[in-house]
Subunit: 143 residues, 2 copies
């Protein structure tokens, strides 16, 4: 039986976060001491680790909540249920990556166009590009 600090150490979460997850319904302490201290059983610890793993992969707290409800009642859920959540998450991630790659591309173009030196920014091509509003069309770029 671990106390909250020990669970924190074990999982890499903070005690604060564990309490927050408790409020969110992700982690609970099977036992409480008379004085109110939380005590975590092995089962609780495994659930906390599940939560940590799922969060680390990138699932939202809400997703983890759903995954946990599947976890406690696997026989009434299907692989499809699980892949749906996972696929949705992957789609999110893919979309974010696309956006970021576009930003990356544009930023690279800007950096390539500017000398970066100590001279006056009066004719800085980055500033000019931002003013021209066609700085938003990244193309094939070297490097």
């Amino acid at each position: 039986m671990l106390r909250i600090g020990e669970l924190a150490t074990k999982t890499g979460l903070t005690a604060h976060t564990i309490r927050f997850y408790e409020k969110s319904g992700l982690i609970n302490a099977s036992q409480r001491s008379e004085s109110g201290y939380r005590y975590y059983t092995d089962t609780d610890v495994r659930q906390a680790e599940f939560v940590k793993t799922a969060r680390k992969i990138g699932f939202s707290v809400d997703d983890v909540s759903t995954l946990l409800s599947i976890r406690v009642d696997k026989s009434n859920h299907t692989c499809q249920d699980v892949t749906e959540i996972t696929q949705r998450k992957l789609n999110d991630v893919n979309e974010k990556i696309s956006e970021l790659l576009l930003m990356q591309q544009t930023l690279k173009i800007l950096l390539n166009s500017c000398c970066g030196g100590p001279e006056s920014a009066t004719h800085c091509s980055i500033m000019e590009a931002l003013d021209a509003s066609n700085a938003l069309k990244p193309r094939i770029v070297a490097e």
Copy 2:
């Protein structure tokens, strides 16, 4: 001279956002009618477009604020000043991309391992992976 709604149409921002940007010091209306309506000059419009462009590229409101202060006083700033902001942003973006690629990789592995069918999740490999906490080590994976 445009009113806020017209500027909104022209820039693709909303009137709300323009007012928010005003509070944040990014956009201001050179004129006000007697009744208090904002009126934007061509110069204001160009600044608003600069803001829109910079935001679209991914610069934070704070970054844009800094870029604007360079913009109004280019001769007292250098290309280095500008590239620093841009490079910092690119570094941020690169870091986020790395994190997302890791997530993407892991999610792909999970999806590959699960049949995704209508059968019970009792032996679902995604659930197993989340329970095993070694689901976090993405390796080379086929597409």
